[in-house]
């Protein structure tokens, strides 16, 4: 699983926000992407998942030894290839219960076609077991009801992405809006899935403790450019990172 972007740039009316020569994700289990506000981290993720059209550049996703050019695809096709992103802002499906949101996310599109439109949801015992497992693991006030608090909605957003079984998961600030112990639990779950080889992960986060504790490799982005990348210890001790970001 490798996601490579080269010559990637994005400008809004001649105002450049992103300009990356070459960046590669997926070589290590869990990777981090850090940088000050406005560095272009979320824009980069948007460009990678085709939610934002880049101004120039190419994005290639290598899966099972096959290269896919993502620029020519639309956002749902990117997701179907196994590249999925959790959202920074709270976003969800207000009229679906927590359980239905997870069911909807995990149901393959071919089982939602017109042939199924007059049949009650047959239900998939295996899927239901997975959902039960996830809902038991996390403390929802009412797992059969709707997601109420911002924290619950954020958590559902992450679980929704996990249940579609992505090959590469991009997490945009997973800790923002989540209580600490839930973040720990989420990271534990993600880490176990990574260790089982189910997926690779890229995390954007301002909570640096989370980055140092979980990531095997860290990229540092500032003013739209990739300034440094390396092991967490290298990044921690890098002078540029310290100056530009940690304010030392």
């Amino acid at each position: 699983m490798k996601l490579t972007a080269s010559g990637l740039s994005k400008s809004y009316t001649a105002h450049p926000v992103l300009n990356i020569q070459e960046i590669m994700f997926g070589g290590h289990g869990i990777e981090g992407l850090i940088g000050p506000n406005g560095a272009g981290k979320s824009t980069l993720l948007g460009c990678l998942t085709r939610r934002i059209p880049p101004t120039t550049g190419s994005v290639t996703f290598e899966r099972d030894g096959q290269d896919h050019d993502l620029i020519s695809l639309s956002s749902h096709q990117v997701a179907q290839l196994g590249l999925v992103k959790t959202n920074q802002r709270i976003q969800g499906f207000e009229s679906l219960t927590i359980r239905d949101q997870l069911r909807m996310a995990a149901t393959p599109p071919q089982r939602e076609g017109w042939r199924f439109s007059w049949k009650p949801d047959p239900g998939d015992p295996e899927l239901e077991a997975t959902i039960d497992g996830l809902l038991d693991r996390f403390p929802f006030s009412n797992p059969d009801g709707f997601a109420k608090s911002g924290g619950e909605k954020k958590l559902v957003d992450i679980l929704r992405c996990l249940i579609v079984k992505p090959k590469m998961l991009l997490m945009d600030e997973p800790a923002a809006g989540l209580p600490d112990e839930i973040t720990q639990e989420v990271m534990g779950l993600v880490r176990s899935m990574v260790e089982e080889g189910e997926l690779v992960v890229l995390i954007i986060e301002h909570d640096l403790e989370l980055i140092w504790n979980n990531c095997d490799y860290v990229h540092f982005l500032s003013e739209g450019e990739l300034l440094f990348q390396g092991d967490p210890d290298e990044v921690k001790n890098n002078r540029v990172v310290a100056e530009k970001y940690m304010g030392v």
Binding site: S74, V84, L96, D121, C161
Partner: protein, 372 residues
């Protein structure tokens, strides 16, 4: 009686249109303000194929529906990537174009002269209209049954997800644009089919049938009844069209001088109801969480109480008739008095109060479902 059958047939058409709009807007979030365009295109296409080209009923229906399908596919491709305002304007424009073309393309539609006569599929003397009425019941009941089942399906869940947040649904691998286009075309086809089926009902088509008020009537009915509920369309149409166009305009004892004001009064009450619903219960009378079985149960209950009230009224009026004819003055009138007064107030009410009439309209729903 024939007029009642005509009115009820028209009511069924409106129920069908509101059901199609319920799927389009209530489930999928596409604000189609061109309902009359798709309906009118189906109706006029039916007229042109039958009258100008002398095709059979079935051939004409198939071709009319094909016309609507083609038109809605083109519209869908053009507008479904736009936001709500864009879709709203485009669909209104579409219906205006259809209305205009019907007036101008005289060689085909006969323009303002009108197009007729459109024949019923089968003619059996005086039973023709009744037969066609039952056929319409079957069509609309099938549509209602489909809607009820769609709500419980994986597809219905996907439609709701797309309405709630299309971008996130796409990011989970759902081809939202294709799904929207498909269901937009399907529901527009339903509107076109209902239009084609309205043609024999009206017999003679004129351009003044293709007016925006059809769209608004369907929208008001759906929003009142509950745009997200599978039975909202039926309930809404019975409250609006059922009460005003059928009950009041046909049966209310209105003097000719006052009858002039009824249509204006109708618009006034529609507006008042709409504002009231939007202010106090924006989801409409039926909450989306309410299970359809409960709504049907309530409706049956409503009819039972209505029938019981009616019986008491009849019984009390019979007893007063007896006592007055018997001329045993005081005892008779005092015994019937307390019985009579609640019954009389209750019957005076349905015209004015929505909830009472609501019960009746809901109960009518399960009956049309049986023939399918």
């Amino acid at each position: 009686m024939a007029y009642l059958v005509f009115s009820l047939s028209l009511l069924l058409i409106y129920v069908g249109l509101a059901l199609a709009l319920h799927i389009q807007f209530g489930l999928l979030g596409i604000p189609n303000f061109g309902v009359v365009g798709f309906w009118g295109l189906g109706m006029y296409a039916m007229g042109v194929f039958q009258v100008q080209l002398d095709l059979s009923f079935v051939d004409a229906i198939v071709l009319s529906v094909a016309c609507v399908a083609a038109a809605s596919w083109v519209i869908g491709r053009l507008v479904l990537r736009l936001d709500a305002q864009g879709i709203l304007c485009a669909t209104i424009a579409f219906s205006a174009i259809v209305a205009l073309l019907i007036v101008t393309e005289k060689w085909m539609t006969m323009g303002v002269v009108g197009l007729g006569t459109i024949k019923y599929p089968v003619r059996i003397g005086g039973a023709t209209e009744y037969l066609y009425f039952f056929f319409l019941i079957a069509v609309v009941a099938a549509l209602q049954l489909f809607t009820l089942r769609l709500h419980k399906s994986t597809t219905g869940r996907l439609l709701l997800a797309i309405r709630d947040n299309e971008e996130v649904a796409a990011s989970l691998g759902k081809d939202t644009y294709a799904v929207k286009t498909f269901w937009f075309v399907i529901t527009c086809i339903a509107m076109g089919l209902l239009g084609a089926l309205s043609a024999p009902l009206n017999q003679f088509l004129t351009p003044n049938m293709i007016v925006p008020s059809v769209t608004f009537a369907v929208w008001i009915a759906l929003v009142l009844g509950g745009k997200e509920h599978s039975l909202g369309a039926v309930v809404g149409v019975f409250i609006t069209f059922g009460i005003f166009d059928i009950l009041i305009e046909t049966y209310a004892p209105v003097t000719p001088e006052l009858a002039v004001y009824v249509p204006n009064f109708k618009l006034f009450v529609y507006g008042l109801l709409l504002v009231g619903v939007l202010m106090f219960k924006p989801v409409g009378l039926l909450d989306p969480g309410l299970p359809p079985e409960a709504v049907i149960g309530k409706g049956i209950e409503g009819v039972r109480t209505g029938v019981a009230l009616g019986r008491r009224l009849v019984a009390s009026s019979v007893s007063t008739a007896k006592t007055t004819s018997g001329t045993t003055g005081k005892t008779g009138s005092s015994s019937s008095g307390p019985d009579e007064s609640p019954a009389v107030t209750a019957t005076a009410e349905p015209g004015a109060s929505a909830p009472e009439a609501d019960g009746i309209s809901q109960a009518k729903d399960p009956t049309p479902e049986k023939p399918s």
